[in-house]
Structures are given as structure tokens and as C-alpha cells.
């Protein structure tokens, strides 16, 4: 699976309240949540994000609440992938479970600037930065995780397997 998009770059400890403020948790669909994604730390995001765009963050991305609304909001906004130095545990599980690929790759984070065009090859575990020409290697997902992402999440994946 190949993903292509422009970089939105943020710092360390991007928390789930930043990704989707709790005042919007009275809604639960990806479409509704996407309209408020990142708004407290980046008011330009919702208006300018394009399908396929890639979020690049620092350490402990997605810390805080267990709200699955956070990866859902990113997915609903069209984000194809999150690359960070490290991820908070619950966010990591939630992202995979809803079929949003996320990769830990500190080198790719260090080499990325806002607006860079990245290409991510999930099977090979490579991230290519078109501006610098650099190719970064990360561990590819094991087959069952790849299966979850291709199915669009753990629920469709499980349903498929129960057939």
C-alpha cells in the first residue's frame, strides 16, 4: 500500500485534546469530528488539509485520553498516515484498530518540514521525502496488522475472518 501526501508538522506530546477537543465528544462520526480536528493548536489545519496528507509529530504523539475520536478525526480529515518519534500506547492501538497507519521513525521526523511531499510504502516500511531525496526505513507492519489496515480496521477485519 503506497501513501502520498504533504507534511503537517507538530512537536512533542500532541495530546488527544489537541487532536479533537473534548467539547466535541458529543459527536462520534469521523465526518463530524474532522471539522474540528487540531483546531486548538492549528486553526489552519481543517481548511487546508488535503486527502492523503501526512501528520508528522515528535515524542509521545496521541497522549492523554482513550478517545478513539482522535484517530477518527484525523482519518475523517483525509490524513493517510501519522509518522512520529514515538506514540502513546492507547492512541497506537486505536489508530491501528480503525485502519489509520502510524509509523514510529525519528529519523524521518527529523528530516521533514511542513509541506514536504512524502511517499510511504507500508509493505516495505519505507518513507521517501521528495524534497531531500532521502529514504528512511522503519519496521514494516506484521501481516495481521497490514490485514487490519487493508480491511479498514479491526472490526471489518474480524468480520471478514468470521465469514
Amino acid at each position: 500500500m503506497m501513501l502520498r501526501g504533504s507534511v503537517w508538522k507538530y512537536g512533542d506530546n500532541v495530546d488527544t485534546d489537541a487532536i479533537i477537543p473534548a467539547r466535541y465528544l458529543n459527536m462520534s462520526t469521523a465526518e463530524e469530528l474532522a471539522r474540528h480536528c487540531m483546531e486548538d493548536i492549528d486553526t489552519s489545519f481543517v481548511g487546508a488539509v488535503r486527502p492523503g496528507d501526512i501528520i508528522v509529530g515528535g515524542e509521545n504523539f496521541g497522549c492523554g485520553s482513550s478517545r478513539e475520536h482522535a484517530p477518527l478525526a484525523l482519518k475523517g480529515a483525509g490524513v493517510s498516515c501519522v509518522i512520529a518519534e514515538s506514540f502513546a500506547r492507547i492512541f497506537y492501538r486505536n489508530a491501528i484498530n480503525i485502519g489509520l497507519p502510524i509509523l514510529a521513525c525519528p529519523e524521518a521526523v527529523a528530516g521533514a518540514q511542513k509541506g514536504d511531499a512524502l511517499t510511504v510504502d507500508l509493505e516495505a516500511g519505507t518513507i521517501t521525502n521528495a524534497r531531500t531525496g532521502k529514504i528512511y526505513h522503519t519496521s514494516p507492519f506484521p501481516p495481521f496488522i497490514m490485514g487490519i489496515i487493508e480491511a479498514g480496521g479491526l472490526v471489518p477485519y474480524t468480520r471478514e475472518r468470521m465469514k
Binding site: 473534548a22 467539547r23 493548536i41 485520553s65 482513550s66 502513546a88 492507547i90 472490526v155
Partner: protein, 409 residues
């Protein structure tokens, strides 16, 4: 894993769950996912707990719809442990109080503060809505066996220092990702002497260091707490004598002051003396971190016979109906109201900027809650200082952050 030869950190295991929990904001996504799985019934309605606490009593029409969806699911599935307004409390205060979580349990909750139950010697961790859906469908969940950091607290606590100060200090020392993916084990003579309320407070905030669980050994205090609440058998586990730890950290707390975490991360913990003089607009005393009777007693001891500063809104939120009733019978509620504080029905409310005390731009709160991320309690340009109940109550009186001794003179 009965019959298993044991596990080591890094192993991926499938575990049976004893309790599976969700609330009014995480359940709606879960229920949609559960329906989509095509499973007709939950694996065991006795082991599923649903609590309307975050935006309940319903703060608006959308929240009302979410609570309604959860209520209808509970009825359709015969889930008796559905706690609605009138019976509900803040989930992590309510479940231990009602004896729904016991030592040795494996608990998975669609709420990050599910780690609170580690205080009972249960392995409890937060997950998301999809994991909840799979867990209530199958009764099991996969987990990676975490490494463990053992914390040992020695010395003698200064007056007013409680579980909140110990955990804020700990997070201040190791950082908000200091225990990422790991279990935190709290040990040593200082924690042996803590009340269960203080232990719940510490386990509750393990997630704020990135931890997967915050564990205490089961001792006489635990057994006493559980006695009279447990309605089923339970098993007590202890740390292996030869357990291998990722790290062992020792804190001598004798010189540790009361702690305050500055905006906008829980790791910004400083001694209260360094926060002295910070002007506040609001003080919140409650939440799954500090909404227990013991916390309210500390606050009442300071507020009784004094007055909340005219420029401060002081909001006290008992964690459950039982805590509220006990506080009422002990005269705490009267003391709060006479001091000029408001006392709310149990709700998570202001902690996550939901309702019951939202901050405007430029406003500042001292709060006994667990997170002070940007915008957590309202406007993105508002600020939250985290503290224990003693500092919050004293600051409500002074109008600025102060040590309780400043107002108790």
C-alpha cells in the same frame, strides 16, 4: 492465562477479561462497532459496565442522544451494571466503591483512567472503543506484557502531602512519557501507609506518565476496603521475589513539598512555594483522581468556617452518590456551601471541558483533576494548575495558589 508457564515482558498474550467498561462518550462508537461485528449478544452481561458520567446529566441534545443509545443497548443486552443519573458516579470512583472491581481482576476500559484499579491489585488498563467492542463480543483481548518500573517511596511525608503530591512529583521526575507502554509499581513504607483513596489517586495518574498500569500490592488496607463490597471470589497476586524490573526508582519524600503541576503538561510539577501568588479564577475539587470522601474531608477541613475568595468560583464534585451522601451526613456539604462553594452532582464535567465549570479565554483554574493540556478545561487560552485537594481548597480561599498553612493560621 491459567495453565500457562508464565509470561515475560514483550510476550503478546490473549487474556480473558473480568470487567469491561465504557462511558457515555466512548460507548457510542463502540456500540456501532459491536453492531458492525454482527454479534448478537455480549459475552457476559454481568461483566459489562456502562456509566453515564462524562456529559451527564445530559449537557445538551447530542449528549442526551449518546446517553440514550447507551441506555437502550444496556436494556436490550440485559446489562445490569448500567449506571444512569441517580445511580451513577464518576466511573473510577464508582466501580471500586460498588465492589465491581476486585484484586486480581483483568479490567479493560474504554477510558484512559481505567488504570485507577491498579490500587486494588487488579491489572487494569485503558483502551479505545473498538477494543471495547471486541472485548464485549469475545470476552478476551490481546495485550503485550509490559516491562515494569518499580517506584519505592521512603522517608516521612510532610503535613498535607497526599497521593496526589506523590504522583505529580513522580511524573515531574520521569516525564509524561517516562513510563510509556510500561507498568508502574508503587512500593515502599510511604505508600504502605497511604489510604486507599490516596492509592487510587496515584494509580489513576499512571497514564499521565504514559503507563499501561499503576499497581499496588494487596495488603490489609486493600482487604479491609474490599470486605463488604466483594460479591464474588477474587485472587490476590503479588510481585515475584525475583522479578526483573526495567528500572527501580527510589524517592525519599521527607523534603518533598506539596506539588502543583503548571500548564500545559502534568510533568510540569513544582513545589507549591514556586506557585505561590499565581492568581486563580476557579478551583475544582473532585474527579476520578480526587473525588473520594477522604479528598472532600481534606477540602472541608480547610474551607469550613472560611470564605471562598470573591473573585473565585469554587466547584466541589463528589465522585459518586454515596460519596455525596456521606459528605452530606458528615456536614461537609454544609461547610462547602457556607464557605461559598457550589456542590455538584457527580460528573466528569469540567475536568475535560465538558460542562459545570468551563474556563473563558485568559482564565486560570487550580484543579484536583488529572490533565492540564492546553484547552483541557475550556478555552485554548485558559490555564489549569493541577494540585491535591488541600492546595485547591486553600487557593480557593486566598484567590491565589497557596500552601494550606497560609489560610489555616
Amino acid at each position: 492465562m491459567p495453565g500457562s508457564a508464565g509470561v515475560v515482558p514483550g510476550d503478546l498474550v490473549e487474556v480473558s477479561v473480568d470487567v469491561v467498561l465504557a462511558n457515555d462518550i466512548t460507548a457510542p462508537i463502540s456500540l456501532r462497532e459491536f453492531e458492525s461485528l454482527g454479534v448478537a449478544r455480549v459475552f457476559d452481561p454481568e461483566k459489562v459496565v456502562l456509566v453515564a458520567d462524562h456529559f451527564a446529566p445530559n449537557k445538551d441534545i447530542k449528549s442526551a442522544e449518546q446517553c440514550k443509545a447507551m441506555r437502550e443497548f444496556a436494556r436490550a443486552q440485559g446489562i445490569a451494571h448500567h449506571y444512569d443519573v441517580g445511580r451513577m458516579g464518576i466511573e473510577h470512583v464508582l466501580l471500586p466503591e460498588q465492589g465491581l472491581v476486585l484484586p486480581g481482576d483483568v479490567v479493560v476500559g474504554a477510558d484512559s483512567h481505567t488504570c485507577t484499579y491498579g490500587a486494588l491489585g487488579a491489572f487494569a488498563t485503558g483502551m479505545g472503543s473498538t477494543d471495547f467492542a471486541v472485548a464485549i463480543a469475545t470476552g478476551s483481548i490481546w495485550m503485550r506484557v509490559p516491562e515494569t518500573i518499580r517506584f519505592e517511596y521512603t522517608g516521612t511525608r510532610q503535613p498535607w502531602v497526599g497521593g496526589k503530591d506523590l504522583i505529580l512529583y513522580t511524573i515531574g521526575q520521569i516525564g509524561v512519557s517516562g513510563a510509556l507502554y510500561m507498568a508502574m509499581e508503587f512500593t515502599g513504607p510511604v505508600v504502605d501507609g497511604l489510604s486507599m483513596a490516596d492509592r487510587f489517586t496515584m494509580s489513576n495518574m499512571a497514564i499521565e506518565a504514559g503507563g499501561k498500569a499503576g499497581l499496588f500490592a494487596v495488603d490489609d488496607a486493600t482487604q479491609e476496603y474490599v470486605a463488604g463490597r466483594a460479591k464474588r471470589e477474587y485472587q490476590v497476586y503479588a510481585a515475584d521475589a525475583d522479578a526483573v524490573y526495567a528500572r527501580v526508582v527510589t524517592f525519599d519524600v521527607s523534603d518533598m513539598e506539596l506539588q502543583v503541576s503548571f500548564p500545559h503538561l502534568p510533568e510540569n510539577a513544582k513545589p507549591v512555594s514556586e506557585a505561590q501568588g499565581v492568581k486563580i479564577d476557579q478551583a475544582v475539587i473532585g474527579s476520578c483522581t480526587n473525588g473520594r470522601l477522604e479528598d472532600l474531608r481534606v477540602a472541608a477541613q480547610i474551607l469550613a468556617g472560611r470564605h471562598v475568595h470573591p473573585d473565585v468560583r469554587c466547584i466541589v464534585i463528589p465522585g459518586t452518590q454515596q460519596v455525596y451522601l456521606d459528605a452530606l451526613r458528615e456536614g461537609l456539604v454544609e461547610a462547602f456551601i457556607e464557605a461559598g462553594a457550589v456542590v455538584s452532582t457527580p460528573t466528569c464535567g469540567p475536568c475535560l471541558g465538558g460542562h459545570m465549570g468551563i474556563l473563558a479565554a485568559g482564565e486560570r483554574a487550580v484543579s484536583t483533576t488529572n490533565r492540564n493540556f492546553r484547552g483541557r478545561m475550556g478555552h485554548p487560552d485558559s490555564e489549569v494548575y493541577l494540585s491535591g485537594p488541600a492546595v485547591a481548597a486553600a487557593s480557593a480561599i486566598a484567590g491565589t495558589i497557596v500552601h494550606p498553612d497560609e489560610v489555616m493560621r
